[in-house]
């Protein structure tokens, strides 16, 4: 993500670029709703907030991927849980019946056993979420590509 906001809007495309910058700021600021990755029963758990500026239908999440210390967690090892309902991350885009509230924390469960060799005391985490908007904000393909980063410790 560029570190500088485009200053002048000439058209809707420029407005879209600026929007990606602006909306990503709040998403980055509030990314984690927990202070550590918790390890238990052969999986790892962390909590992220809905990055969008309102609540949204879970079906708006067309892609989500976590990368930890450079290890891309496979899609089949990534699960998302809202209010106790756990679903494979790949199914999120099909679930327009599930609401992800404004800033609501979703639990992310990772079952990638390779993480055991990757995780250290402090861990660099990349959270990539492609979020479709329910009407046009000028983003390409009506999708906001969140590319968020943070650091978390591991707790057992």
């Amino acid at each position: 993500m560029s570190t500088e906001m485009p200053k002048i809007n000439r058209n809707q495309s420029d407005r879209g670029k600026q929007g990606i910058f602006v909306f990503s700021r709040v998403a980055q600021r509030d990314l984690f709703a927990c202070d550590a990755i918790e390890a238990a029963d052969g999986e790892w758990r962390l909590c992220i907030r809905n990055p969008w500026y309102t609540g949204t239908y879970l079906s708006a999440v067309s892609f989500i991927r976590l990368t930890i210390n450079g290890r891309r967690v496979p899609e089949e090892d990534t699960f998302l849980s809202l209010r106790g309902q756990r679903i494979p991350a790949a199914y999120a885009k099909n679930l327009h019946e599930l609401w992800w509230g404004m800033g609501e924390a979703a639990e992310i469960f990772l079952t990638d056993q390779a993480l055991a060799d990757v995780l250290t005391q402090k861990n660099q985490i990349n959270v990539d979420i492609d979020m479709r908007t329910t009407f046009s904000y000028g983003f390409p393909n009506d999708t906001l590509p969140y590319r968020l980063t943070g650091e978390l410790e591991v707790k057992s």
Binding site: M5, K7, I8, N9, R10, N11, Q12, D14, R15, Q18, G19, V22, F23, R25, V26, R29, D30, A33, R49, Y53, T54, G55, T56, Y57, S59, A60, S62, K93, N94, H96, W99, G101, M102, G103, A105, R132, T133, T134, F135, S136, G138, D142
Partner: protein, 265 residues
């Protein structure tokens, strides 16, 4: 005219989980607001299927603090599903549901965010729910907002030509060219023909200078025009700077409400 605050302005704290709708309403009362604007997708518990009990609780809290709900805002998205867009029947069903929610909250104005081009799509949509608006006594306040110019809204208002379809001008329409989200700067004179349709306004702000003024937005000039016209609706401050920086909402909303009172009382 009545002055208040959109709870949108508390986004920094609500998004981070430090504040909820009830906290925000109480803050507005402490500031001296006449009323508030509430957004379904941001503030209503249990959205998109709120309980009548929650709606009643919000309505009663606002009333108990001697305020009113100026406007209930919501989003009419067409791309809710990943496999297909919403059908017209689904869009109409949702609009009727939101009209009923507005009435339950005791608000007289519903502002749906809905982006349609050409404008005929908006006109057809509004016409399809006009009977429901009239039945519930709710005005669809279309928000004058980028990317569409004032002429777009004037055409919609003149075509529908109903007291149940009115305008919510957002001050961002007259912001300078470097304000976030702005595409074009509209002349203030474009406000004049819109005033007869205006029922509620968004006092948009992205930042403040050391004097508490919004450097990109001609607040004084806009309020002068509203007063000269005899505007009797409401203006809700809408601080959007929370997306960019996470300053405490209690601070930024106070600055914004002071600005509204400076020129609007």
């Amino acid at each position: 005219m009545k002055l208040g605050m959109s709870l949108y302005s508390f986004g920094a704290d609500i998004h981070a989980g430090r504040m909820d709708v009830y906290d925000a309403i109480r803050c507005c009362a402490e500031m001296g607001c006449d009323g508030v604007e509430i957004i379904g997708e941001q503030h209503i518990p249990g959205w998109p299927n709120p309980s009548l009990d929650d709606l009643k609780r919000i309505r009663e809290l606002v009333a108990s603090l001697s305020m009113e709900i100026f406007c209930f805002s919501c989003y009419f998205g067409k791309n809710i599903r990943s496999d297909r867009p919403q059908t017209q029947e689904e869009m109409i069903h949702n609009a009727k549901k939101m009209i009923a929610v507005t009435a339950c909250l005791g608000a007289k104005i519903m502002r749906p965010a809905f982006n349609a081009d050409p404008v005929d799509i908006l006109v057809d949509y509004v016409n399809a729910v006009l009977p429901a608006l009239e039945e519930y006594g709710v005005i669809w306040g279309v928000e004058l907002h980028a990317p569409h110019p004032p002429a777009y809204y004037l055409k919609a208002l003149e075509t529908v030509n109903s007291p149940w379809f009115r305008l919510v001008p957002d001050f961002s329409c007259w912001q300078g060219p470097n304000a976030p989200g702005q595409i074009q700067t509209n002349e203030l004179s474009t406000l004049e023909p819109l005033l007869p349709y205006a029922v509620h306004c968004h006092g948009k702000a992205h930042m403040f200078d050391e004097n508490g003024e919004e450097p990109n937005t001609p607040y004084k000039e806009i309020f002068t025009r509203l007063k000269d016209y005899g505007f009797e609706g409401s203006v809700a401050g809408e601080f959007e700077g929370w997306l960019m920086n996470g300053e405490p909402s209690t601070k930024t909303t106070r600055i914004l409400f002071n600005l509204l009172e400076k020129y609007g009382r």
